[in-house]
C-alpha cells in the first residue's frame, strides 16, 4: 500500500493555515445557518399551521420545493443563478479589517433556507406531539395564542424535538462541504487545492474525514449532555429527591 504516514501525521497534527481557516469557516457556516434555520423554521412552522389558508399554502410550497430539490442545486441557484439572472448579486461586505465574502453570505443563506424547511417540519411534529390538554388548560386560563406557544407549548415541544435537532445539526456540519462549489474555502475545498498539487489523495481525505469525525463527535457529546439535562418528563431544575419528601409525611 502506498500510504505516506509521515505526510498523514503532519497534515493531521500541524495542518496548514488555510486548512485551519477552512475549519473555522465550516464552524461559522454551520452554526450561523443552523441559528437562522431555527428562526426561519419557526416562522415557517407557524405559517404552515396558521388558519390562514394562503399563508399555510405558501409555507407548504416552501417546504415542498426546498425538500424536493438538492441542496447543491439550491446553493448554485442562489449564488450563481440569481446573479446570472440579474436579480441579486452577493457583494463582499467589509467592516474594518474583516471581509464577509459574497459567496460565504450566499452559502450561509442557502444552508439556512434549506435547514429552515426541515426545521419547520420538526417544529410542527414537536408542537403536534404536545398533549392537547396543555393547550386547553392555557386557553381556559385566558392565554392568547402566542403566549400559550411561548410559555407552555414550545418549552415542551423543545424537549420532544431535541433529538431530531441534534440529527439536523450533524447533517448541517457535513453539508457545509457543498458550499465549496461556489468557491468558499472550507475544509473540502482547501483539501482539494492541496491535493491538486500533491496528489496525496488518500492521506489528505483521511485527514479531512477525521476532522469531520472530530466535529460531529464533539456535537454528539454535547447532545448527550443536553438529552440528560432536558430529559423528557423530568424537570430541568434540581428538585429535591421525591421519595424522601414523601416518606417524611408517612
Amino acid at each position: 500500500m502506498n500510504f505516506d504516514w509521515a505526510y498523514f501525521w503532519a497534515q493531521l497534527i500541524t495542518p496548514s493555515g488555510a486548512f485551519l481557516v477552512g475549519l473555522g469557516l465550516t464552524i461559522i457556516m454551520s452554526v450561523s445557518a443552523q441559528l437562522l434555520g431555527f428562526i426561519i423554521g419557526l416562522a415557517v412552522a407557524f405559517a404552515r399551521m396558521s388558519s390562514n389558508k394562503y399563508l399555510s399554502f405558501l409555507a407548504a410550497s416552501y417546504i415542498w420545493i426546498i425538500r424536493g430539490t438538492p441542496l447543491l442545486v439550491q446553493i448554485v441557484f442562489i449564488y450563481t443563478g440569481l446573479a446570472a439572472a440579474g436579480i441579486l448579486r452577493f457583494e463582499d461586505i467589509t467592516v474594518g479589517d474583516i471581509t464577509f465574502p459574497g459567496n460565504l453570505q450566499a452559502g450561509i443563506l442557502a444552508l439556512a433556507i434549506n435547514e429552515a424547511a426541515y426545521m419547520a417540519e420538526i417544529y410542527r411534529a414537536g408542537i403536534s406531539a404536545v398533549d392537547r390538554g396543555q393547550f386547553e388548560a392555557a386557553k381556559a386560563l385566558g392565554m392568547p395564542p402566542m403566549m400559550l406557544m411561548r410559555y407552555i407549548v414550545l418549552p415542551q415541544a423543545f424537549r420532544i424535538i431535541l433529538l431530531p435537532i441534534g440529527n439536523q445539526f450533524n447533517i448541517m456540519l457535513k453539508n457545509t462541504t457543498l458550499v465549496s462549489v461556489i468557491g468558499v474555502s472550507e475544509m473540502l475545498l482547501v483539501t482539494e487545492t492541496i491535493n491538486s498539487a500533491t496528489f496525496r489523495t488518500f492521506e489528505l481525505y483521511s485527514v479531512l474525514g477525521i476532522y469531520f469525525l472530530f466535529l460531529t463527535s464533539l456535537w454528539n457529546i454535547f447532545m448527550g449532555w443536553a438529552e440528560r439535562h432536558f430529559a423528557l418528563g423530568r424537570p430541568a431544575a434540581k428538585s429535591p429527591p421525591v421519595q424522601v419528601v414523601l416518606e417524611a409525611h408517612q
Binding site: 386557553k139 386560563l141 428538585s239
Partner: protein, 261 residues
Amino acid sequence: MSNTSVSDELLVEATNIDKFFGTIKVLDSVNFQVKRGEVVVLIGPSGSGKTTLLRCINHLETVQNGRVVVNGKLIGYRDRNGKLVSDREANIALQRRDVGMVFQRFNLFANMNALDNICLAPQLLRGTPKAEAQAQARTLLARVGLPDKAAAFPVELSGGQQQRVAIARALAMQPAVLLFDEPTSALDPEMVGEVLAVMRDLASTGMTMVVVTHEMGFARQVADRVVVMAEGKIIEEGPPEQIFNHPSHPKTQALLAAVLH
C-alpha cells in the same frame, strides 16, 4: 350544605344552544343559567352532552346556534347587526380570564412546578408582581392542602394532588365562575375524597361553580341545583332533594337507578 349566598343575578346565561359534531346533534336547543354564588351540578349518561355544554361556557367548543353570555359579556362571538360573527382569538382569551376550568385529566403544565403553574397566568395576564403572585400561590396551595408541594413538578404528584394544584391554578385568576369537567373521574378511588373536600370547601365560600360529575353524593350534598341531561337536552332540573328523591323523568329515574345501586 346548600349554598345560602345565591343571588338573583345571572352569571352564566346560555340560550338556545345547538351544537353538532359532524352530523350528530350533541346539544339541542339547550337553555342553561347559573346565578352568582350558585353551585350547579350537571348529571346525565355519557354522551348526553354535559361536558360539551360546560365547554361551551368558556368557548372551548364553538356553537352552531345560540349564544353564551358570561358576566354580561357575549362569549366567542360579536353581535354584528343581529348576526353573530366569530370574535378574534385575543378577545376570546380576554373573556376566558373570568371563567376558570378544572379538567378531568388535570392538565397541569408539565414544564413547570406547582408554584409556577399557579403563578404564571396571574403574572402574565393580570400583571400581578412576581412576589405577590407567589405569595398568593402559596396561600392557595395551603388552602388545597398542599403547602409543601410548591417545588414539585406534575410528574412528582399523585392524581389527587395534581387535581388540587389545578384547582388552585384556576382560583389564582380569581374567576367569576369555576367549571369542573368530571374532576374526579380520572382519579384512583382513594383520592376522590381529597378533591371533593376541596370543592366542598370552595362551595361553602360562595364560589359560583358548574360541576359535571358522576359523584351523586357530592351532587346531593353540595349542589344548589341539579341539572339532568340526556341526548343533548336538559330533561329535568331542580334542587337535589327533588331530583334524587322524586325524579319525574323516566330517564332520570333510570340513570339514578343505574348509578345509585
